[in-house]
């Protein structure tokens, strides 16, 4: 697996698209500490940037 493909797979796993991590990425779905921190980071990003929300482009265009 190329490095770029591995990175794509890892990002897709972290974003909830894939159910299994790429080879070598040792974080399983049952690692509550990791996913708790990751969800916390994502929620933090949402709250930090939430003041400027705009309409989704593809709705009712």
């Amino acid at each position: 697996m190329g490095r770029l493909t591995w990175c794509q797979n890892m990002l897709e796993y972290l974003a909830g698209e894939k159910d299994a991590p790429p080879t070598g990425f040792m974080v399983g779905l049952s690692n509550f500490l990791f996913w708790g921190i990751w969800w916390g980071i994502l929620v933090g990003i949402v709250f930090v940037f939430s003041g400027q929300s705009s309409k989704f482009i593809y709705i009712d265009f």
């Binding site: 972290l14 909830g16 698209e17 940037f49 989704f56 593809y58």
Partner: protein
């Protein structure tokens, strides 16, 4: 808005998904139907056409009724196709098409002053058309009326896709996985990732894309123009892929995996592959219900180019009731035709050398992003943008 509101999560997604997962399989479709009706009425009433918008729920109820008469080779299927296209024309294209004949609204007898779009009409009409056509060709089973209503009223995908297929959806509805913990973990992760993309990237870029108007383009330093257009190219990708993430993640909470919509489209090294990885559910729909019925690639070569142009013309028109969207679609049709000519007429085999792949990627990326000018601006503004960009 919808997916970036608390209402969506607290009033709809969480209650409906939890109820759905604890309910008996026999009443699961009913939960989808009732929550879908509630969703349509609530957001239509509060965000779109008010009471009249909410009354457009009747379109779904009528479609559920008439679809029971769809049989292989039946004229009822044609009736379904025609009425669905009529819904779309009346609500979305009436002012645009009549405006081509009577440009002044005051002189246009067909002009609809307070026109509005029923929630998700551009997307649910594709699902109606697919079902009517596939029943005509006997490519899908009828299912029960409850199952069909669950298909068209499944609210995570109702507003902007991904565009589903009944023959793909039905088996998933009938066998919801028991492992709800996995679905909830993946679903919530997907939703949060989508929200983070939307808020932190797409909305941030709005500060740049807002400048794509006649006044700002006229006053801007020339070198900044491509950056604004690039910002739009990134924004539309992140925005719609974020939307798709939230829709797919929401569906996952119900235990239903809906089709993916994006697969790294900006990494593709030609325009054909770009369309195989961009808005995948739309591309596949256009391929199956427009391009292939026109003859696809099994016709003489000049007809293939015409089929590509017609398909992308329809894609452009579907994206918006405006000449700029038609130009955008035709530009992509021309690019697809040029790529096909390059590959098949010249017998060109893509080189695997790094420089060749980098060049192909750069060419595809630049072409796609330049074409966005006709997507995000009207014709006059887009032409003015290119005049300023190229001529100063």
């Amino acid at each position: 808005m919808i997916f970036n509101t608390w209402d969506y999560y607290l009033l709809f997604l969480l209650p409906a998904a939890i109820l759905f997962r604890i309910a008996r399989p026999s009443i699961q479709p009913l939960i989808i139907v009732l929550s879908g009706c509630y969703f349509f009425v609530y957001f239509s009433y509060t965000q779109l056409g008010g009471a009249i918008g909410a009354a457009c729920l009747l379109i779904f109820l009528w479609e559920s009724f008439i679809s029971r008469f769809y049989k292989p080779a039946s004229w009822f299927c044609w009736l379904g196709v025609v009425q669905t296209i009529l819904f779309l024309v009346v609500f979305k294209y009436r002012n645009f098409l009549s405006g081509l004949i009577w440009p002044m609204p005051s002189q246009n007898p067909l002009y609809w002053r307070n026109s509005f779009l029923p929630l998700g009409i551009s997307f649910f009409t594709f699902e109606f058309l697919h079902y009517a056509w596939d029943r005509y060709r006997n490519k899908t089973e009828t299912g029960t009326v409850g199952e069909y209503m669950a298909f068209i009223l499944f609210f995570p995908t109702m507003v902007a896709g991904p565009i589903k297929r009944y023959q793909d959806f039905l088996p998933k509805l009938r066998s919801i996985p028991a492992d709800w913990a996995l679905d909830f973990q993946r679903g919530f992760t997907r939703i949060l990732a989508g929200l983070a993309k939307k808020f932190a990237v797409a909305d941030l870029l709005t500060a740049y894309t807002n400048h794509l108007n006649m006044r700002d383009i006229g006053h801007a330093y020339r070198a900044v123009l491509p950056l604004w257009l690039l910002a739009y190219g990134i924004k539309i990708y992140v925005d719609f892929s974020a939307y798709s993430d939230i829709a797919i993640g929401s569906a996952r909470l119900f235990g239903i995996k809906v089709p993916e919509n994006f697969d790294w489209p900006y990494f593709q090294t030609n325009i054909t592959n770009f369309w195989r990885h961009w808005h995948i559910s739309l591309s596949a729909w256009l391929m199956d219900y427009v391009y292939i019925p026109l003859g696809g690639s099994r016709v003489p070569v000049p007809r293939i180019y015409v089929n590509l142009l017609v398909t992308m013309f329809i894609s452009g028109l579907w994206h918006g009731a405006g000449l700029n969207f038609i130009v955008w679609g035709l530009l992509h049709g021309l690019m697809l035709a040029a790529h096909r000519w390059w590959r098949h007429r010249l017998g060109a085999v893509p080189s695997q050398a790094l420089y060749a792949r980098a060049f192909s990627w750069g060419l595809t990326f630049v072409a796609v992003n330049l074409a966005w000018a006709f997507f995000c601006m009207d014709i006059h503004t887009a032409l003015f943008f290119f005049r300023r960009l190229l001529g100063g």
